[in-house]
Symmetry: C2
Subunit: 391 residues, 2 copies
Amino acid sequence: MTPQRGRRRRGTKAANIYDVAKKARVSVFTVSAVINKSDQVSAALQRRVEVAIRQLNYRPNLLARSLAKQRTHTIGIVVPDIANPFFPLVVRGVEDIAQKAGYSTLLCNSDNQREKEEHYLELLLSKRVDGILLTMAPGRLTPWLQRMLAEVKVPLVLVMRTSKDLKTDAVLTDDYKGAFEAVAHLARIGHRRIALVSGPLGVSNGTARWKGYREALEANGLTCDPDLIAEGDYRTESGHRAGLTLLPRRPDAVFVANYLMTVGFMQAANEMEMRCPEDFGLVSFDDYPWLRCFRPRLTTIELPKYELGAKSAQLLLKRISGMQGRSTVQKLEPQLRVRESCGFTLHLRNVDRKVFPHDSQKGKELDVASRPTLIREKLADDQPAATLTRD
Amino acid sequence: MTPQRGRRRRGTKAANIYDVAKKARVSVFTVSAVINKSDQVSAALQRRVEVAIRQLNYRPNLLARSLAKQRTHTIGIVVPDIANPFFPLVVRGVEDIAQKAGYSTLLCNSDNQREKEEHYLELLLSKRVDGILLTMAPGRLTPWLQRMLAEVKVPLVLVMRTSKDLKTDAVLTDDYKGAFEAVAHLARIGHRRIALVSGPLGVSNGTARWKGYREALEANGLTCDPDLIAEGDYRTESGHRAGLTLLPRRPDAVFVANYLMTVGFMQAANEMEMRCPEDFGLVSFDDYPWLRCFRPRLTTIELPKYELGAKSAQLLLKRISGMQGRSTVQKLEPQLRVRESCGFTLHLRNVDRKVFPHDSQKGKELDVASRPTLIREKLADDQPAATLTRD
DNA sequence: TTGTAGGCGTTATCAA
DNA sequence: TTGATAACGCCTACAA
C-alpha cells in the first residue's frame, strides 16, 4: 500500500516534495537530490525540477528535514535577562557565529530563576536543539535535570558562569583578575576604605569578583571590613540599596561588581547628595561605549562581551560537529579602563603633576568635574601592572 | 504492512512514543492521550503510562509533533541589531508574552540590511514558524518575498516601523508626536537655531521624527535650515559624524533621533570641547534608566519599549490563533522627560526663579553642572503641553 | 475506552 | 542515474 501523497487539495497548503516530483515527472528522490545539490542528477532532470519548484513556489520544510535527519540546526541560549545590557552583545556574538554556520538561535530569559531555567532547558531538549548555551541561575541544578542533560548528550557550553553540577565546557571572563585589578587600582591611588557591592554569591562569577576584591585588599595591606560589603543581585535596585547602606559609612571608594548595580549606586549617591569622585571613588565592572561621554566618566573593567558570545558559540558548534575531548574552560581577559570616577586625578592633583606634560600645554586648570579627557588617556598608557586601553 | 516501530536498538537513542507504549503494554494512542492530558484514558492505564514514561525518561519530540500538527509554537523576531540598546527590552517584552502562551522565540539580526533580512524571513518560513515579528530594514521589499509572505499566510506584525509594501498589522510608537514634543520643548525654552540628527529617511520612523521636527519648528515660528540637519543611520558613528558637522555651525540646540547617535554626538562634542547644555542644548530620543544618574542628564523622549514588544507579541498571537479583521496600526505614546541637557535651567536662571520655592529652600546656588535633581523634577510636573514624568 | 494505521514532509537505503 | 519505500516521531480519524 503505497502512500497516496499526490492527492492533496491544491491551493490550500504549501507544496511539498511530492507535488514537485509529480509536476516535474520525476521521483521524490530526484527532487530531494536537486534541493540538496547532490550533483548526481542529470542536467535535464535538474532543470525540470527547478522549474517545477519555481512554479509551485516550493519551499523545503525544515521541520520535516530535521525530523528525518535528527538535526535541527538550531541552538538554544538561556540568559538571565536580555534586558540587562551585558547580554545583548553576548547574544549578538552568538548569533553571528551561529548564523554563519547555518544555525538559528532560540532565545530564553531565565531571570536568574532556577525554575524558569529548568523549564527552558527541558523545552529546548524537547525541541531537539543541537546544542545549548547557558548562563546558569544561582543555586544547584536539580539532580533530575542534571542526569537528563548527561543522558541526552546535547552539547552544552556554560557562558560567563560555571557550575559544580555541570562538568561541561565553559567560556568565561577572568573575573577574579578583573576584580583584583579594579581594587588594586583603587588601593594604588590611595584609597584605604574600599567598599564592595558584590554580585550574588550563589553565582560563580559573584564569588570570583568577591575573591578578587578580598585578595587585592590583602595584597595592598588593607583589611577587609565586612561593614563595607553589600551583596546585590546584579540588578539596579540592589545597587541602589547597597548605596544607601554603604555610603553613610563613608568609604573612600567602592568597587561595584556590575554595571546595573553601579547605576543604582549612583542613583543612591545622587539622592544623598554625594558626588563621585569627590566624595567617593568608584570602579565599575563591565564597560559601555556611552560611559566615555557622560560624567562622571566611569573607570571600569571592560569585559569582551561580543567575543564571549562568539567563542561560546564556536566551541558549541565544534562540539555539535563531533569534537571530542575533555571539557574546556576558556577565560577571556578583562581590561582596566581608567577614567575619572576612581578619583585618580583627584589624587594626582596633590601628588605629581609633572608626569603630564600634556597637561600644562593645555594651559588649563585640571578640573575633575570637567573633561580632562586627554590627560587621563595619556596617563593610562603609562600605567603599569594593569591592562589598559586608549579609550 | 504495519510499521515495525518497536525494534529499535535500545540505549543509543531517546525513547519514543512506541517504546513507552510497549513498556506500558498499551497502544500509542493511549500514550499520546496521556501526554496531551486528554482525560479519556482510564486511571489505571494512565498510571501505567506515566510510570513507563518516567522509567524510559521519555520526552516528547516537539519536532514530530509540530510536523504532525502543522504548528511549531515558535515565532520569529527580526530586529536590526539586538546590541542596539533599544531592542533588548522590546525583545524581552515579546519573549515574556510568547513564553506565557507556550511559544518560543527565534531571534534574528538583520543589521538593517535588506539582504540579511530577506534571508532570515525565508529561513523563518522554511522553519514554519507560526508568526513573525519584524522591524523592517530600510528600502523596499523584494516583490518576490512580498508575494511569498502573502501567499504563505503567516501572521506578520511590523514592530516600530511600517512599510508601504506590507499591508499588515503594526505596533509603533508615535514618533511624529515624540519628535514634535522634543523640538517644541526646545523652542519653548528659547532655542532658535535647532539642529536635527535624523534617523535614516528610508525608514518610516526616520521620516516621522524628521517630520515632527519640521512641523514643530514651523509651529513655533522657526525656519528650517537644511544646514542644521544631518541624516544618520541610528548608529553611534553616524551621530559622531553629525556632531563634527553640525556643532561648528553653532546651533542653539539639537534634537537627536535616537540614543546611539546621541552617544556619538556627545563624543564629538567632547572632542570639540563643547559642553552640554552650556554650549548647546540637546534632547534625545529614547530613554534609559542610567541617564538619570550621569551628567549631563539628558532630556529625552521615552519610548515604551517593553510594552512595544509585549503588544506586538499579543497581537501576533491573536492573529495566530485565528483572529480575523482588517490589519491594525497601534501607536504607543511617547513621553517627554525633562532633565537638564536641553538647557532648561540655564534659561530659567535668566528668566524666572520664583516658580521654584523648593530651590531657595535648599539655600544653594542653582548650578547646572551639579545636581539640581529635585528642582528639575518639581518643575516637570507643572509643564503643560507635554507628557511628563516624575523621573 | 482503546487500538490501528495513515499522514505530516523529509531523508536514506536498496534495487533496478 | 533514478525509483520505490521505509524510517523519523507524533497525531488522529476511524474501527473495534
